[in-house]
């Protein structure tokens, strides 16, 4: 069966006719995503099949349940989404409906004492952050930018620039309410126990977090609709109102008050010749900081971050690259005296000792790198995240390589991945003119939880052209293949979609468990079928076959 007029009328009955539309003009706005090369190719292959048959906006968990029951009754696929930034939020098959959660935007609870918030799907990070900071709390911010759905980001993965202490978003998920593909509701963590409070993910109550994800990432609506989450909040000793000067995109924020202090640390080593020493020195710094258990933010910024985050315009970005404003990566550290001013003073002394020990140099306030990063982007990273600015370079970008492992291993991975990437560029001409100089030089080292583990990414910046995007994906594929040949843990990140079958055997056949779960809970493959089975590029015919149509 497919989406029918009767099904549409049933949806109207559930949410009211003003909250559902099958008008082609309305649905057109839910039909494409092209900031990712895979999105560009997906659009190219799927065409109008990416336009949903209708868009429906439920206002409650009960309405979501009923929508999913109707989907099962009439056998049409549905795609749940948050704010709709990423490519998994789009249909790949004609007759799919999109569930837009705009009417579910309440902060249901903000618990100062137990430091958590219970929120609905359309609560953005920026709204939650503003309210949390009034209570002396904060949430780490996504690189996708704080305009995105907090719930979707936490359920999916959530890589953050300020996660030295907090870890990624998924680790801050304390509980959730999920409407399964058949319409049944389950709750995880202490949220599952009425009256217990939504403060803890291990219980009382079942811990179902594993249900939401396979490898590193969640399944983006492939297992139903998350209608509520509880997320952890962290102590924040900065001002409730974000201190900003300047106008619009020429904004500066010098300080988060006397309880915060920023540092930019460099090693006098230039890329690409001394890339390895620079990265290894940075790793040493993070290990020492982890041992001392100091710091609120600690990260190594890749060149692409430095250039794209700090640029005011596209032209500015290219001028800065031309002038080699950031000759290498930099480490950025923030200390927060969240218990007392003495804590800040103590950590400051320790940091100075560590930097001296590892041979680092504190970037001076009057240096361009400090002015550009600390004044313009650092505080912004605490409150808002900002990586959608990465697209400024070419209006399209993709992660080029990524991995999770120990800091040392991550440095090794960056070096090896860059080597493969440079070889592709030099010997095969892949990515010529659009990969360098932002990519394949250094990388983003993002240590998590006091350096207990680490995340990295490098990026590629093709234009929104099919040929360039094809090349970008070929580069990513070859770099990833080399990671697996090195028995890298990158599989943990790539355990999604088509990579299931490729990398699952390397990960104890976990892909078979994921597929088994999907079959058990969604036998009709109705819940975001294009994503959970094939995320990148999928033809409507392939999908129809998978769904038994």
């Amino acid at each position: 069966m497919a989406f029918t007029e009767m099904a549409y009328k049933a949806l109207q009955d559930i949410v009211g006719s003003e909250n559902v539309s099958n008008d082609p003009a309305i649905c057109q706005a839910y039909s494409r995503v092209q900031w990712l090369p895979s999105g560009v190719l997906q659009r190219e292959r799927c065409g109008l099949a990416m336009r949903p048959a209708c868009v429906v906006m439920p206002g409650s968990t009960q309405e979501v349940q009923r929508i999913l029951q109707v989907a099962n009754r009439y056998t049409f696929p549905f795609v749940p989404r948050g704010s709709g930034f990423t490519f998994s939020a789009f249909p790949t098959l004609a007759g799919t409906i999109v569930i837009d959660p705009k009417r579910m935007d309440r902060i249901i609870e903000l618990n100062e004492k137990d430091m958590y918030a219970v929120i609905e799907p359309y609560v953005s990070f920026v709204g939650l952050q503003a309210e949390a900071m009034k209570c002396g709390l904060y949430t780490p911010t996504p690189l996708a930018g704080s305009q995105v759905s907090c719930l979707a980001n936490y359920s999916w993965h959530g890589a953050y620039g300020n996660s030295w202490i907090t870890g990624i978003g998924a680790q801050n998920l304390l509980g959730f309410e999920l409407v399964l593909p058949d319409g049944e509701v389950v709750r995880s963590g202490s949220m599952a126990c009425p009256g217990a409070g939504s403060f803890w993910n291990d219980g009382p109550g079942p811990d179902l977090r594993g249900f939401l994800r396979s490898g590193m990432f969640g399944h983006a609506g492939g297992m139903g609709v998350v209608t509520k989450i509880s997320c952890k909040l962290w102590p924040y000793a900065g001002p409730a109102e974000f201190p900003a000067e300047g106008t619009a995109n020429m904004k500066f924020s010098s300080s988060l008050g006397e309880n915060w202090k920023w540092y930019m640390i460099k090693f006098p080593l230039k890329y690409p010749e001394q890339e390895e020493q620079e990265l290894r020195k940075s790793a040493e710094l993070f290990y020492e900081m982890g041992r001392a258990e100091i710091g609120e933010v600690a990260t190594h910024l890749a060149q692409q971050f430095l250039y794209t985050y700090s640029s005011v315009t596209k032209q500015d970005l290219f001028d800065n690259m031309k002038n080699d404003v950031f000759p290498s990566g930099f480490c950025v550290v923030a200390l927060q005296g969240k218990t007392s001013p003495d804590q800040l003073a103590y950590e400051d002394r320790v940091l100075h000792d560590i930097v001296k020990k590892v041979g680092g140099i504190f970037v001076k306030e009057d240096e361009p790198a400090y002015q550009v990063w600390i004044k313009r982007a650092a505080n912004e990273w605490i409150r808002f995240g900002n990586a959608q600015r990465l697209s400024r370079a070419s209006d399209c970008f993709s992660i080029g390589s990524s991995n999770v492992d120990s800091i040392d291993q991550i440095v090794y991975e960056i070096l090896e991945s860059n080597k493969v990437g440079r070889d592709l560029l030099k010997n095969e001409g892949l990515g010529k003119d659009f990969v360098q100089p932002l990519s394949m030089n250094g990388g983003w080292i993002s240590p998590q939880e006091y350096g207990y583990w680490c995340l990295h990414t490098t990026d590629v910046f093709p234009e929104q052209a099919v040929d360039q995007c094809n090349q970008a994906i070929e580069i990513i594929g070859k770099v990833t293949k080399s990671q697996f040949e090195r028995r890298s843990a990158a599989a943990a990140i790539h355990m999604i979609g088509p990579a299931y079958d490729l990398f699952g055997p390397m990960m104890g056949d976990v892909h078979l468990i994921v597929k088994g779960l999907k079959r058990e809970f969604d036998p009709g493959n109705l819940s975001n079928p294009g994503y959970a089975t094939r995320p990148d590029v999928v033809t409507p015919e392939e999908l129809a076959k998978m769904m038994g149509h």
């Binding site: 995105v148 900002n386 234009e463």
Partner: protein, 430 residues
């Protein structure tokens, strides 16, 4: 044709949703975090700038046609005040001409004969017939100036340093004539040599351009430009942000020149009066015992920025050749009205959460009030709620359209807030 001009901008939207939120640095609460009246009211993404980019992409790629959904397309295009909040937010991360996209959609609708909407046509027809948007006789235009002894610069031989251009709504709308009367009183108090065009003043034509009727706009603009030339006016002062933006930005765009290359300088009355205060030519002495908040009119702020003309093309990576300095809405008139309010003794001035280039629109602009009054009203009510949260007793602005729509919002919501024009307050302090 119109859409082709902005193809790159529309098709390269990364649909990150930044356009739907106030500048992230400036968000102060979950309640007042959003910036786009269209998508807040219409809810579907389609009503946001992101959705309009998708519509353009669909139309250009042949995936969507006007015939598929003409009425809904017109609603998507016109149920928007073109307030440019989306444009300001977007440019924080990208270099796309979002206002260009919204304008092009309207122009396209008109080129195809589908736009403007009947309510807009009424305004434009009124301008053609009566030289004003309110279907009023020309000889009543300067009725407010009777007995005020003001020079009429349309008469041969009359000259003045400043041409005071009143605008249709202040000239005709009952109850609003106090604004030009008070303006005149303040200008006189400061010793300014000024004059008006009397019954010869004609509509600026901004509304025609706003709704995409470029042909009518050109016709009206030409008449005004000729009139300005004839009077030899070098400085034009106006109260209406719509007229201000039209003379400053639209007339420059029409002539393909920068605003600063126009043969005249146009100043909004708040800008002019703030300069008089700064120069010591005007002083407020009487206390005004009120607590007020200020509503930034979009046409004075985000859209009041001087125009920078650019002709060129997108090249590799989307760079522009020659480099294009885009308008970002940050150089509009934001400080002048605040300086005036702060200069009034006894007046307590409090800010709302969304201000200046991040201000929430009243909902009236771009022809939205006339074509979609329910939308305009809902948008105004949101602003009133935000104003009430400040504890102010009055919301002050300097735009007849904002004032009127906010007033409707107050009535509809049963608010005890008052609405008023800044010059009605300022004149009390003389």
């Amino acid at each position: 044709m119109a859409l082709e001009k902005i193809e790159y901008d529309a098709t390269h939207c990364q649909r990150c949703s930044t356009c739907k939120w106030s500048h992230l640095w400036e968000v102060k609460s979950h309640r007042f975090a959003r910036n786009c009246p269209s998508v807040v009211y219409g809810k579907f993404d389609t009503y946001a700038a992101q959705g309009k980019n998708d519509i353009v992409t669909g139309l250009l790629k042949g995936e969507l046609s006007w015939e598929d959904s003409k009425d809904r397309l017109l609603e998507i295009i016109y149920r928007c005040p073109v307030c440019a909040a989306c444009d300001v937010s977007c440019k924080r991360v990208m270099d796309l001409d979002i206002i260009g996209v919204l304008d092009a959609l309207r122009e396209e609708a008109c080129e195809r004969g589908y736009g403007p909407l009947p309510a807009h046509k009424e305004f434009i027809q009124s301008i053609m017939n009566y030289d004003n948007v309110w279907k009023q006789p020309r000889n009543r235009r300067a009725g407010w100036a009777k007995k005020l002894d003001i020079k009429d610069l349309s008469k041969a031989g009359e000259t003045a340093d400043v041409l005071y251009y009143v605008g249709c709504t202040y000239a005709y709308k009952p109850g609003m004539e106090t604004v030009p009367m008070h303006t005149a009183k303040i200008l006189k108090a400061a010793g300014i040599d000024f004059g008006i065009l009397g019954a010869k003043e004609i509509c600026c034509g901004g509304i025609a351009d706003n709704v995409g009727d470029k042909k009518s706009f050109e016709e009206i603009a030409k008449k005004n430009l000729d009139m300005f030339k004839a009077t030899g006016a070098k400085t034009i002062v106006t109260n209406c942000p719509g007229c201000f933006m039209t003379f400053s930005e639209k007339y420059a765009r029409l002539q393909k020149i920068d605003t600063e290359k126009l043969p005249y300088t146009v100043k909004h009355s708040t800008q002019f009066i703030a300069e008089l205060l700064q120069a010591g030519k005007l002083t407020f002495t009487r206390p005004v015992d009120m607590t007020v908040t200020w509503h930034d009119p979009c046409h004075l702020g985000r859209r009041g920025e001087p125009y920078k003309h650019w002709e060129g093309k997108r090249v590799k990576f989307g760079l522009t050749e020659p480099p294009r300095e885009m308008n970002r809405g940050v150089n509009g008139i934001y400080e002048a009205p605040r300086e005036i309010l702060k200069a009034i003794p006894g007046l307590r001035f409090v800010e709302m959460e969304r201000i200046k280039e991040y201000a929430w629109c009243c909902g009236s602009g771009g022809g939205a009030k006339s074509a979609y009054p329910d939308f305009a009203l809902a948008t105004a009510k949101e602003r009133i709620e935000e104003a009430e949260a400040t504890g102010a007793g009055a919301i002050i602005t300097s735009c007849p359209w904002c004032e009127s729509n906010l007033s409707d919002g107050i009535d509809a919501g049963g608010s005890r807030l008052r609405v008023g024009d800044i010059l009605d307050i300022a004149v009390q302090a003389l």
